[in-house]
């Protein structure tokens, strides 16, 4: 446990120092750091659900998309202040989780996966068609950056630290929830729902709360995306983006909360490096994804855990 704490501390210090120690900070802070934090928070909402409920959801971009579009439309088209639009967007995204959850949680496994994918693709086609609202496939561009207490988040470093703060807070909140009796009951549902029911638990409300919580995280990520990318279009919730997210979660390690960020950093760095060859890059991530799924379905975090266990065994320490 103390080793884990040391690791968290090291990662945290590195993350805080990152803008000062990276070469070419103008490029890497934004394209590496800020981007990874945004993708990581989106992926965290997926990992939380997968880890605690055993459900792989592709619906997270639906919630991100709802929240993102609300912020974009209200601030660009209707001049609403962020102080109003951001809480409203997060609330709307979170509440849409109630409707989707009510339907999707009746299913399991691959059905749940398919259904949530259909939900996200449905938003994609709506965003394309409803041109009067969403401006169709051009999307909504040049969304202004927020200014909070005189700090302009159009600058690279303030935005990075804002995102870092959000990521840490949400990660800690997930960890905290897992330790509460609610979190323990969730794991019970994941491992054996029938037994939980026979023990007198009403499992549907438990699953619902977890699902809506994950849509809350995804909605925050949606707002982060709008501020980071400064535009939103149907492609923000399209098939390719959904798969990208899945790649992050799986490559990082889908049963670890930290896997979301490990995967996000890896993919963000990877993308930044071969930005100039974009045509081949997505193919490359796809191949990486398939290889990881076939050889190491637990992802990088899983590989690390296995290596630790093996080292422990060699040294005679019980793993």
């Amino acid at each position: 446990m103390s080793r884990k704490r040391t690791m968290y501390a090291v990662v945290l210090i590195l993350a805080i120092l990152f803008p000062f120690i990276t070469p070419d900070p103008d490029f890497w802070v934004s394209s590496g750091g800020t981007r990874a934090l945004w993708l990581g928070v989106t992926a965290l909402s997926m990992s939380f659900l997968n880890r605690n409920l055993g459900l792989m959801s592709l619906g997270q971009l639906f919630f991100s998309g709802i929240a993102g579009y609300i912020v974009a439309i209200s601030s660009v088209t209707h001049n609403v202040k962020f102080g109003t639009s951001v809480p409203l967007a997060i609330l709307a995204g979170t509440l849409s989780g109630v409707i989707i959850g009510w339907i999707a949680l009746k299913t399991k496994g691959v059905y749940f996966f398919m259904l949530t994918l259909a939900v996200t693709l449905g938003l994609y086609s709506f965003a394309n068609q409803a041109q009067e609202i969403t401006r169709g496939h051009t999307g909504i561009n040049s969304i202004p950056s927020p200014i909070i207490f005189g700090v302009d988040f159009a600058y690279v470093k303030p935005l990075y630290y804002l995102f870092l703060g959000i990521a840490i807070a949400l990660f800690a909140l997930c960890k905290f929830l897992e330790k509460t009796s609610f979190g323990i009951a969730l794991k019970g549902v994941r491992d054996n729902e029938d037994r939980m029911i026979s023990m007198g638990y009403r499992t549907m409300p438990l699953k619902m709360i977890a699902f809506v919580f994950s849509s809350f995280i995804a909605s925050i990520a949606g707002v982060m995306g709008v501020f980071y990318v400064t535009n939103i279009s149907p492609d923000s919730v399209g098939l390719a983006r959904s798969i990208d997210l899945l790649v992050i979660v799986v490559v990082g390690g889908a049963t670890y909360l930290g896997g979301a960020f490990v995967g996000a950093v890896l993919i963000a760095v990877f993308e930044a490096i071969i930005q100039d060859f974009t045509q081949y890059y997505v193919g490359a991530t796809g191949v990486l994804f398939i290889v990881v799924l076939m050889l190491a379905p637990q992802g990088l975090m899983g590989i690390a855990a296995q290596a630790r266990a093996r080292r422990g065994k060699k040294a005679g320490v019980p793993a």
Partner: protein, 296 residues
């Protein structure tokens, strides 16, 4: 709101209905391969939309080169049949009983395919020319209007495929072997039947069907970048509404998604996506397993 003349709105209604019905035929062709493979093997192929698009490109290329629609359709179907079989043998077979892992791998395949197709064919939209001998229109009695025969032909094809699949699976000896092989692989193997070969044939047939759908759909509708996601969505909607794994379910799902979707697009274009989506939610609220689906 303006009310156009009675005749005009009637014509519009009939045209919308016919478009919806023929589109339903196309959706059936697309989704039947997906449901066939899942129903028999519990393997869900999320590269289905990418398969559809790939066949569109292959059929277009061959039809363009040979000036013959039929060659294009055969090439598209066979290419996909072989390609799908290779994906199954090389990537999926080992994990056949881990449903979610297989679904994820097929999404990876979809990603790689989409990018490869974009690199080769670019972002333009394509549409294969109608085969010459069926490029005429049929008059609609009583309205003095006509409707392209090829679209009606698609509907007829869908019905033929539906009946053919149903007869093949539930009435023939091969169908019986397939069903038995799925229910009890070990027992059927013990009877001296090569179950692995049976599975390969199912995958070949399912991929062949989506290949054929790509050739046909690439003629009635344009296709290009993003079409893979669209058709994956249609197929998912169809099988989720109709019930995964059931041929009859696909028929019902295709009809609902095709006709209602077409009316929504024709009359309320802004909310078309939402209307289909609301229908999906409504069906699932009452039947989580889909209209004809078996309880999970």
């Amino acid at each position: 709101m303006e009310y156009p003349g009675e005749g005009v709105s009637m014509t519009r209604f009939i045209f919308t209905f016919l478009n919806g019905l023929t589109l339903a035929g196309l959706y059936f062709l697309v989704a039947s391969g997906l449901t066939l493979i899942f129903g028999l093997m519990r393997v869900i192929n999320l590269a289905h939309g990418a398969f559809y698009l790939l066949s569109g490109y292959v059929s277009w290329t061959i039809a363009d080169k040979t000036d013959n629609w039929f060659y294009g359709a055969v090439a598209g179907s066979l290419t996909l049949g072989v390609f799908g079989t290779l994906v199954y043998v090389l990537l999926l077979r080992k994990f056949q009983y881990e449903e979610l892992r297989v679904a994820l791998i097929t999404l990876g395949v979809a990603l790689v395919l989409a990018q490869a197709m974009l690199a080769i064919f670019g972002g333009d939209y394509y549409q294969t020319n109608y085969p010459e001998n069926v490029s005429f229109s049929v008059p609609i009695p009583g309205l003095g209007l006509s409707y392209p025969f090829f679209r009606i032909f698609v509907l007829i094809l869908a019905i033929i495929v539906a009946v053919g699949l149903w007869v093949f699976i539930s009435k023939t000896r091969y169908g019986a072997i397939i069903r038995a092989g799925v229910d009890d692989t070990t027992m059927v193997s013990a009877l001296g039947i090569n179950v692995q070969a049976v599975f390969i044939w199912i995958f070949f047939l399912g991929s062949l069907l989506v290949g054929f759908a790509g050739a046909v759909g690439g003629t009635t509708n344009s296709f290009g970048m993003g079409t893979d996601g669209d058709y994956l969505l249609f197929s998912l909607q169809v099988v989720i509404i109709g019930g995964l794994g059931s041929i009859g379910g696909v028929a019902i799902g295709s009809f609902l998604v095709g006709v209602i979707g077409q009316f929504a697009t024709g009359y309320y274009p802004t909310f078309a996506g939402m209307i289909t989506f609301a229908m999906l939610i409504l069906v699932l609220a009452f039947r989580p397993q889909g209209i004809l689906g078996k309880k999970q």
